[in-house]
């Protein structure tokens, strides 16, 4: 502590150590956060439902997505990655999960989502020809990426959707 540079070095080292403690404390506060997310998704219309050239069932759907994820944001949240997955079971695969829509939300104000008609952003293709009359679940997932700490994943599963019995 006897020269200018020694004192500067000592100050910066201490600042860095305390900053680590601050980050840890901030990430601990996230652990106690409980959100009250609201998610509602409808399949408005089946635009097309056909066998693709490769011989697999493919559906083109239009969704009505409305969600309020503002309560997921905390003071330590950097952004949300939100995606909608179509989930169903077939004789070939017990679990099928297809991501059909996603969005990155960087601000709390943008977490109020209202999309009256949005087509699937990514192709919904089965492995095989098992999608006719198939029951579907739609699950909205969100990864809350913090400024410091670990990523939290939340989800809301909506049930009771069904694909048509015939191609169109």
């Amino acid at each position: 502590m006897h020269t200018f540079l020694y004192r500067t070095n000592s100050l910066l080292t201490f600042v860095a150590s305390v900053l680590v403690v601050l980050c840890i404390l901030a990430s601990i506060t996230d652990y106690f956060h409980r959100d009250s997310a609201v998610v509602a998704v409808d399949i408005v219309q089946v635009d097309r439902f056909q066998v693709s050239q490769a011989g697999n069932d493919e559906a083109f759907l239009a969704f009505n997505i409305s969600a309020d994820l503002r309560s997921v944001f905390t003071w330590n949240t950097k952004q949300l990655f939100v995606f909608l997955a179509v989930e169903y079971a077939t004789p070939e695969n017990a679990v099928n999960q297809v991501s059909v829509w996603d969005r990155i939300i960087e601000r709390r104000e943008d977490a109020l989502i209202a999309l009256p008609r949005v087509q699937n952003k990514y192709r919904l293709v089965d492995q095989g020809r098992n999608m006719r009359g198939r029951d579907l679940n739609l699950t909205m997932y969100w990864n809350a990426m913090p400024k410091s700490g670990r990523i939290y994943t939340g989800q809301k599963t909506l049930t009771g959707y069904r694909l048509p019995d015939t191609y169109s």
Partner: protein, 100 residues
């Protein structure tokens, strides 16, 4: 900066930074703004730098009082000349080794 000044400097630095961290954390959490926490903390760091790092007069309130300079006695003079002689002989050995 004297010894008491060094102690004072370290205490000022650590206390300011800890207080800035506590205030910043509480303010950031209450206003739910991570940015505010970092701003308060950075402000505390700058303040601690300004108050604790330069050699301000208040770090020199406890000057060490050295003994007044004394003329060397005969024994000391003899001792210092003998150490000089030893250093000279060592240097001579080193230079002779270097030549080989």
């Amino acid at each position: 900066m004297d010894y008491e000044g060094q102690r004072l400097s370290e205490q000022i630095m650590q206390w300011l930074i800890i207080v800035a961290a506590v205030i910043g954390f509480l303010a950031g959490y209450i206003t739910s703004s991570y940015r505010l926490m970092l701003e308060i903390y950075t402000g505390g760091m700058v303040l601690a730098f300004l108050l604790a790092v330069p050699d301000w007069p208040y770090f020199n309130w406890h000057k060490l009082s050295w003994l007044p300079e004394q003329p060397p006695s005969e024994d000391e003079a003899a001792a210092s000349s003998s150490t000089l002689a030893v250093q000279k002989s060592k240097q001579g050995k080193r230079s002779s080794k270097g030549k080989r």
